[in-house]
Amino acid sequence: MAKLSDLTPGAKGKIIKAKGRDAIHRRLLDMGVVSGTEFEVEKKAPLGDPIEIKIMGYHLSLRKYEAETIIVEEEKEASNG
């Protein structure tokens, strides 16, 4: 178990849970960040924040501190990026 913000580009995994509160939490749920969703970390912005993940076949950007609220399970063999 790790936070999404700890992963590096190329890492893949599954969402366990979005822990945040209020607007951010709600928004994450709406965008499909719910338990069981698979994702891949695509890249970081040129200045290092926000990050971009691929989820449900589309691209989602979120800030690092938003990514900190998301607990994920990393798929080990893919985390070579």
Binding site: K17, A18, A23, I24, H25, R26, R27, L28, L29, D30, M31, G32, V33, V34, S35, G36, T37, K43, K44, A45, P46, L47, G48, D49, P50, E52, M56, G57, Y58, H59, L60, S61, L62, R63, E66
Partner: protein
């Protein structure tokens, strides 16, 4: 009579909703606002098979919560207006997330038809979607469409009519919500059904779900119910139960269940390719938001946007200016000289021209923005810039309005609409005026030219930086003290890159451009007239000197001097034998004069013509020296007379302005500006600067008795200011600081008001910018005096 239907178009942003709306309604569109909020409402009609279908475009949303205005607007429309059918546009290549909204329409009890849009893209990606099966599982017709190619519209409309007539989309919606949630929903539903007026307005199941989720708006509705106490009890118990037994709040659990249902649905109806191909869009993105290239590419695009907006619109600005000049001239020719002519020409035509003068700029800007938005770059720009903007308490998307502010604050304020959160929008708008706009540049050119000529560029750049710094600082302060809270989350879709359609971007551009005209236009004309009245009346103030008598005295004295010379000249000319030669010369001369007027002074052609004429004159002078001498004398006298008369006229204009109502106001507020080192001229100029910033320069021109001054070519005025013992470099800096910070022009203020939507915020903006400008200038001037820089 055609049968009438009312349908709502709904869907995620980037689902291709707009192109379907355009396909269905064509040019029969109407853009307005949803009542009470600044969310665009588009409506159109569509005639099909004997039906007249009223199509309402709901805001693009991902969900139907109470967290954003757009989502509230969309769901309120469905609840209150009860459209016959809700056409839910679903991006087939991005099914799961798009269907999330669909599940919520079903919860609402809406009559749904699904447009499986961009089905060609999905197919190309190797996806195979069983629309028939999906339709059965969802309880709604599913029609494959390709919006931007206008495919599937007929089938979609057939399905709409079929669904409306047979209510086939109403089937009970199939999500189970699981064995923990479902019994709780049913319990709440049972209590709700006791209030018959409540359940006649809302679907009880939806209400129950929303109460469980803790939806603030639905709670407000339920609070008015006769059984609110009971409802509250049951809801709280259920929420606690779910939290305790599952360790998850109800909101999350319900979202999980919705997505769980969607997973099951797509597993049964969608076949995906074994290996996912890397799409072209992903390849493009690898370059465009690359760690090294991302920022330079961003800067390049922004430079291109500014260039496109401000240079690209140049030709059209020329047309508009030409047209209004012509119109003013035509009106002046028809209407007899006097106050009414001035009202029409300067007040109304000038005012309307002022509004329309911005219009090409606004159109080009919106065109550029539409291309950036529709191609998918806009979200990337925000992605690249967010770290910087966020450090200042702003959102990644704020970069655009701030950047456009370098050209003109008016379109900049309008561009802040791309920000979703109202707080972010307000903060961005409140600080936008500090970015030096194009109209302020002449002010800096004037004063920097007069006092800091040697290091002009550096000083000017410094002021730019000060403007940006103040904007950033104020944004930070507003975020902390005035509109506290975090900037809107950056949880944002980065849509796939697409080639925008010409029709799409043109419609986009026109809608927003028209909105600008309609919203800002009327007030701007009214304010222009008020400003005109302020500077024109009283028409005949008590002048300190009798300018007319002075003028006629000059006329008389010169007439006495000129008359004998003119008579002598005429008799000399009569004596000339080769009359034809002389006549020919006169003809050449008049042709030259006409041509010279058309040309720009100092241009190559101009100096060429001037030289030729000089040569002609020289020849003539050689042949008839006495006549030439008389002629030169005559010319010298008349030009001296004209100069003196102009000086009197300019002095009169200066005094007229000084004694006009606006001038008197300027005089009376001059003491307020004294601690900043400004005189009464400056206070009038600042007042006039509210009309448009470059007017500060032209007003100084009038007040320094320079006559009409071109803000771009103010050399004589610069000298006058330089030579005026009143001004010192310190005062000039203080004045430039004030101009940097005080209220933007009234067009920008009006647009601010329209975008902010409340007098409270407009009042605040006017007040705080003025106070800030005063305090900053005070510190600069008084501080400078203390340091002995005065």
């Amino acid at each position: 009579m055609a049968k009438k239907l009312k349908i709502a178009l709904a869907g995620n942003p980037n689902s291709g909703k707009t192109s379907i709306f355009n396909n269905l309604t064509g040019a029969r569109q109407h853009v307005g606002n949803w009542p009470g909020v600044t969310v665009e409402k588009k409506e159109g009609t569509c005639k099909y098979n004997g039906y007249e279908i009223n199509v309402i475009d709901l805001p693009g949303t991902y969900s139907l919560t109470a967290y954003s205005i757009e989502e509230l607007v969309a769901r309120d429309f469905i609840i209150k207006e009860k459209p016959d059918v809700v056409v839910d546009i679903v991006d087939a290549s991005n099914l799961e997330r798009n269907l999330y909204l669909t599940t919520q329409f079903k919860e609402l009890g809406a009559n749904v038809v699904i447009a499986l849009n961009m089905s060609d893209v999905a197919e190309k990606n190797g996806m195979n979607i069983d629309a028939k099966n999906m339709s059965q599982l969802l309880g709604a017709e599913v029609i494959p469409t390709v919006g931007h190619k206008n495919r599937g519209m007929k089938e979609l409309l057939d399905a709409v009519i079929n669904t409306a007539e047979n209510k086939t989309g109403l089937e009970e919606h199939p999500i189970a919500y699981g064995k923990e949630v479902n019994p709780e929903v049913e319990k709440i539903q049972r209590i709700l059904s006791k209030d018959s007026s409540l359940v006649s307005q809302y679907s009880p199941k939806w209400l129950a779900l929303k109460l469980l989720e803790g939806d603030s708006e639905v709670i407000k509705v339920a609070e008015n119910s006769s059984v609110w106490n009971e409802i509250q009890q049951v809801v709280n118990k259920s929420r606690d139960y779910i939290q305790y037994h599952i360790g998850e709040d109800a909101e999350t659990l319900i979202a999980d269940q919705r997505y769980g249902f969607i997973r099951g649905l797509t597993a049964e109806t969608v076949q995906r390719p074994e290996l996912e191909r890397v799409s072209i869009s992903d390849k493009i993105d690898k370059v465009i938001t690359n760690r090294l290239l991302g920022l330079p590419i961003f800067l390049l695009f922004m430079y291109a946007l500014l260039k496109f907006t401000f240079s690209g619109s140049g030709f059209m600005v020329g047309w508009f200016e030409g047209f209004f000049e012509w119109l003013g001239g035509a009106a002046a020719a028809v209407i007899p000289e006097g106050i009414f002519q001035s009202f029409i020409v300067d007040g109304i035509i000038g005012g309307v021209g002022g509004v329309l003068g911005f219009f090409p700029l606004v159109l080009f800007l919106f065109l550029g923005i539409a291309i950036l938005e529709d191609s998918g770059y806009m979200a990337r720009g925000a992605f690249v810039m967010d770290k910087i903007m966020h450090a200042f308490g702003l959102h990644g998307k704020s970069f655009l309005p701030l950047l456009i502010g370098m050209g003109c604050t008016v379109p900049a304020l309008m561009a802040s609409r791309t920000l979703e959160s109202r707080k972010d929008r307000l903060i961005t708008m409140l600080v936008n005026g500090f970015i030096i706009c194009a109209a302020k540049v002449p002010i800096y050119a004037l004063f920097i030219g007069a006092f800091f000529f040697k290091s002009g560029a550096t000083i000017f750049f410094l002021f730019y930086i000060i403007g940006v710094a103040v904007a950033v600082l104020m944004a930070r302060l507003f975020r902390i003290f005035l509109l506290p809270g975090k900037a809107a989350p950056f949880v944002m879709e980065l849509p796939p890159y697409r080639v925008p359609t010409i029709k799409g971007i043109l419609i986009h551009m026109w809608e927003r451009g028209w909105m600008y005209l309609r919203k800002a236009g009327t007030i701007i004309v009214a304010v222009a007239i008020i400003i005109w009245i302020g500077f024109t009346f009283p028409q005949e103030p008590k002048y300190s000197r009798d300018y007319e008598a002075m003028a006629s005295q000059i006329e008389e004295s010169y007439a006495q001097q000129i008359a004998p010379i003119a008579a002598g000249f005429a008799s000399e000319v009569n004596k000339i034998k080769e009359k034809e030669v002389f006549a020919k010369f006169m003809e050449v001369d008049s042709k030259f004069s006409a041509a010279l007027q058309e040309l720009e002074e100092g241009s190559e052609e101009y100096t060429g013509l001037e030289k030729k004429r000089e040569i002609c004159f020289g020849e003539l002078r050689e042949r008839y020296p006495e006549k030439a001498q008389l002629h030169t004398q005559y010319l010298a006298l008349t030009s001296a007379k004209d100069e003196q008369l102009a000086a009197i006229e300019n002095a009169m204009a200066a005094e007229h302005m000084e004694k006009s109502y606006a001038g008197r106001v300027g005089h009376s507020i001059a003491p307020f500006f004294k601690p900043l080192g400004f005189d009464w001229r400056s206070s009038i100029a600042l007042l006039a600067g509210f009309a448009a910033k470059e007017v500060v320069v032209t007003t100084y021109g009038t007040l320094y008795s320079m006559g009409e001054t071109d803000p771009e070519e103010a050399a004589p005025l610069r000298e006058a200011i330089q030579n005026d013992p009143f001004w010192t470099p310190l005062k000039a800096i203080s004045f430039m600081i004030f101009c940097l910070l005080y209220i933007p022009c009234f067009v920008a203020t009006v647009v601010f008001h329209k975008e902010a939507g409340s007098w409270k915020w407009t009042g605040f903006m006017v007040l705080y910018t003025t106070v800030l400008a005063w305090v900053a200038s005070f510190i600069v001037y008084q501080g400078g005096m203390l340091l002995g820089l005065g």
